[in-house]
């Protein structure tokens, strides 16, 4: 057996019997922060994926699992990046029982195709992750990606009943099962969801489906100040209506979704609810009454426009980057009661730093996305990011630097500081990936 060094210098060749693709175009598709993988490999089954990983581990090659690259840039820039492992050839449905509300699919299935597939039976996964239709099931799980709709039934974590995981030992491990309630054994799947491709490769997932509401209605209104937004948010959460999603936006970048071409004063609030005709009538009158009590006018939004707006809200990170490639995208998660206070502080920090800022905040997950577009290249980027992170932590939350120009990303921490549970996380990584070949160094604390 030749040494790893010789193999690396000789190129990736094939991995686990699967030919690696090395043309520029394929590699560029999976570039991260300007770093291209040396090869891309496309396994077609769980077993092939496991063979690829085993072979990479044996040769000490760094592998980053991926599919459609809608969130691939999140995380620390890769130090080593030998191969992108794309699951694009793995998009089958293995098991589907609509009357049980359960489905098993391969991880490479696109989220849009998935929703379309189950939508024919009036079902859905009540999620609107970044990347939208182009995201993959595996990617959504590996990043626990969820947009504002998570307020309804939680995140992918809460909808995953079981999964199969390809390991660097070349095995395919099963976690969980195919039934909606199951406490047999340790819940290994939980640790894979949101592990950002650093432990194993999720090759198959069994998910819990939900019935789609008969009708959905989106409304919008303006909250002139953050105090007004807070008041509206509190009133909605205290009311008996359970919205499908609710978000509020501000924009100085002309990139965020909005109602009109003109810049509204204050914050645009978007809220969607679902139900039968009779239920919707009640909900709209409730929302209207809340808006009226605050002196705001509520406008219903026709469905096509609503769809487009919600897509852009969910995929804010990519929408902003398309309009402003030099934008910095930050995502803060914090307790709901502190959202507006944090946002106020954040906008004053970015105002002082001389950036134009767009923000998308949503309930459920209590997320505040900030998109910073520098007016000139001289802005104090590092200091601003540090100040914003300190503010998020002061308000009891955390902040991720999701996206930034490559040179800035190398100077700031993508994930922030680790805490007293980090040693356990390190041991978890060691157990799954002893040689550290899966997305090495990209997750928090260099995991």
């Amino acid at each position: 057996m030749a040494s790893a060094v010789e193999h690396v210098s000789a190129g990736v060749g094939s991995l686990g019997g699967i030919a690696a693709v090395t043309d520029q175009e394929s590699r560029a598709r999976y570039a991260i922060d300007g770093v291209l993988p040396r090869a891309v490999v496309y396994p077609s089954s769980a077993e092939e994926t496991a063979s690829v990983l085993a072979s990479a581990a044996e040769r000490g090659l760094a592998v980053v699992p991926c599919r459609n690259a809608t969130q691939l840039d999140i995380g620390a820039p890769p130090g080593r990046y030998d191969a992108a492992l794309s699951l694009k050839n793995m998009a089958s449905v293995w098991y589907y029982e609509p009357a049980d509300l359960v489905i098993t699919v391969e991880a490479g299935m696109k989220f849009g195709d998935f929703q379309h597939f189950v939508g024919r039976d009036g079902l859905w996964l009540p999620l609107d992750p970044p990347g939208g239709a182009g995201a993959s099931i595996g990617g959504v799980l590996a990043t626990n990606a969820a947009g504002p709709m998570r307020i309804l039934h939680g995140t992918p974590r809460d909808m995953t009943l079981g999964m199969k995981i390809a390991t660097v030992e070349g095995k395919v491990i099963k976690a969980g099962g195919r039934v909606v309630k199951n406490v047999a054994g340790y819940d290994l799947g939980k640790s894979l969801v949101g592990s950002w491709g650093t432990l194993g490769v999720i090759v198959e997932a069994t998910l819990k489906l939900f019935p789609r509401p008969a009708r959905r209605e989106t409304y919008t209104l303006i909250g002139r100040t953050l105090d007004r937004v807070r008041e509206f948010r509190r009133n909605i959460l205290a009311s008996p209506i359970a919205p499908l999603r609710m978000a509020y936006l501000s924009d100085e970048t002309s990139a965020a979704p909005r109602t009109s071409a003109s810049q509204p004063e204050g914050f645009e609030i978007w809220i969607e609810a679902g139900g039968s005709e009779r239920v919707m009538a009640r909900i709209s009158s409730e929302i209207e009454a809340i808006a009226k009590s605050m002196g705001s006018a509520l406008a219903p939004v026709e469905s096509e426009r609503a769809t487009a707006v919600w897509e852009r809200i969910s995929d804010f990170r990519n929408a902003l980057a398309r309009a402003h490639p030099d934008a910095v995208v930050l995502k803060a998660s914090l307790p709901v009661a502190q959202m507006e206070a944090f946002l106020g502080r954040a906008l004053s920090i970015t105002g002082g730093a001389g950036t134009r800022t767009a923000s998308v905040s949503y309930l459920g997950g209590e997320t505040v996305y900030l998109g910073l577009v520098p007016r000139n290249s001289e802005w104090p980027a590092e200091a601003t990011v540090a100040q914003l992170r300190a503010a998020a932590e002061e308000f009891g939350g955390a902040m991720i630097v999701e996206r930034a120009p490559a040179e800035l990303k190398r100077r700031v921490s993508a994930w922030g500081e680790t805490k007293d549970d980090f040693a356990v996380m390190q041991r978890l990584k060691k157990v799954w990936d002893p040689k550290g070949i899966l997305s090495p160094g990209r997750f928090i604390g260099g995991l």
Binding site: R150, K174, Y186, P240, A337, G365, G397, V424
Partner: protein, 473 residues
């Protein structure tokens, strides 16, 4: 037993009133709700995280296994001692540390009783969702260890979906904090790994939970059937029609007659099965759903559907359900509660299998299902004084489990594996799967220090599938 050096050290940590070591007192801790195993060497009742850490370090130094325990209401032998050791009882850590109504969060110690938390936050219009039948007694720490369910977890998820963060004392004595008050702290989901790990990975000393807002309206219906099969068909039909009930319970005739005699909840004595169905939400939504439920029940040949007219009637219906185990105790000297899961569309055939297995072994089986999520609780009647009956029950239970797995299900939906089902684990997991699960003991640095002898098969069973009913039954 003399106050050994170990006991004196435990007393130094937890105080004289914080340690039990007289044999007659220890006998109480021989049991959980599954059955008896053997008495522990001592029971210690810490009041603080620091005391827990001290006890854990002591046990590690002396190489004594620790068995964490809440109220002891578990049904899989998870809180009993298998090979000697100290029971670490968390019932004196029962403070609700913080209630944060606006964020809908509470931070509690593990000894807080499940229902006490809901009672404490009721004034804010909030409640804690998972509601095991033992919720008047069981502790939240025990719920976390077992990832407990309950009738109302159908719509909103089980314990793991409601726990955001934990304080954990590791087997090293080190204290860590997993998760956060908010969802989405970056890092591996150690909270998710801890929940349901049956007290083997660490000792939970603080729990951050999410609280839910009480719905505006609740409608409770009782559908009565002359054929049990029609009740199971109704369950599949409701799911297929997209009707999401908040709870959907089934009891067969055998069980409901016992319940009715004990609680007078108004269940009809001559029916073959009843469904207890609850819908909730906005007033309009609950009303509409109640009408739809009624229609689906009638389409599936319900004899009648009754709607609880007020809260008292509702409580009475639920009282019958939640006290069912107790009621069955009146008609049989002993019974063994099983816990299996199947895809909910397979309920009709599972019911047939249950009958077949009961007949084959000559035992009466009562059926209580969390039907909405396919979680079965067959109750196997026997007399513990008759070893042959005990043996038949154990065999029947193993067959029921095998049937659940054959239908695509699992060996436990909410009671956990414990000592009861560890030998059944190979039914659903390969050696590789189990090996990876075992490695979690390494990850948390637990080794065999905490709750040893649970969850994983001993490998001594030579292929025979057996449930472990414990000592006396």
């Amino acid at each position: 037993m003399r106050a050994s050096a170990h006991i004196r050290e435990l007393i130094a940590i937890a105080g004289t009133d914080g340690v039990l070591w007289n044999p007659e007192e220890l006998m109480l801790y021989e049991y959980d709700a599954l059955s008896a195993a053997r008495p522990p060497d001592a029971v210690v009742f810490p009041r603080t995280t620091a005391q827990v850490a001290g006890i854990v370090k002591l046990a590690r130094r002396k190489k004594i296994p620790l068995v964490p325990r809440g109220a002891g209401t578990g049904l899989s032998g998870g809180a009993v001692v298998t090979e000697g050791g100290i029971v670490l009882s968390l019932v004196r850590m029962k403070q609700i540390i913080e209630v944060d109504p606006e964020n809908q969060r509470a931070r509690v110690q593990p000894g807080v009783v499940n229902l006490d938390l809901s009672a404490a936050v009721a004034k804010h219009g909030l409640y804690y969702v998972p509601d095991p039948s033992s919720q008047r007694a069981c502790t939240l720490g025990g719920n976390v260890a077992e990832n407990s369910g309950g009738p109302h977890t159908l719509a909103y998820g089980v314990t793991t979906n409601h726990v955001l963060g934990l304080e954990v004392v590791l087997a090293s004595g080190e204290v860590i904090h997993t998760g956060a008050k908010f969802w989405g702290r970056p890092g591996y989901d150690l909270t998710g790994l801890m929940v349901g790990s049956e007290g083997m990975l660490g000792i939970v000393t603080e729990i951050t939970v999410r609280l839910a807002r009480k719905p505006e309206a609740v409608k409770t219906l009782l559908a009565i059937y002359d054929q049990a099969r029609d009740a199971t068909r109704t369950v599949a039909a409701l799911t297929a029609r997209g009707i999401t009930a908040a709870a959907l319970e089934m009891m067969d005739g055998f069980t409901l007659r016992a319940v009715e005699e004990a609680t007078h909840a108004g269940y009809p004595m001559d029916s073959a099965a009843v469904l207890l169905i609850e819908v909730e939400g906005l007033r309009e939504a609950a009303e509409e759903q109640a009408e739809q439920v009624q229609a689906v029940c009638m389409e599936n040949h319900a004899r009648a559907v009754r709607l609880a007219g007020n809260n008292d009637e509702r409580e009475l219906l639920w009282k019958g359900r939640k006290n069912a185990f107790g009621a069955l105790g009146r008609i049989s000297p002993n019974f063994y509660v099983q816990d299996g899961v199947i895809p909910r569309t397979r309920l009709p055939e599972m019911l047939d299998s249950m009958e077949r297995i009961g007949r084959k072994h000559g035992i009466a089986i009562g059926n209580i299902f969390h039907a909405g999520d396919g979680n079965l609780h067959p109750l196997l009647m026997y007399d513990a004084r008759k070893p042959a009956e005990r043996e038949s029950v154990a065999k029947a239970a193993a067959e029921i489990m095998a049937e659940c797995v054959a239908l695509g299900g699992s060996i436990t939906g909410e009671h956990g594996v414990g000592i009861e089902k560890s030998e059944l684990m190979p039914l659903i997991f390969s050696e590789d799967d189990l090996e990876m699960q075992k490695k979690m003991l390494q990850v948390f640095g637990a080794g065999e220090a905490l709750n040893p002898g649970k969850v994983f098969p001993s490998g001594k069973m030579c292929g025979e599938l057996r449930v472990q009913m414990g000592g006396a039954g």
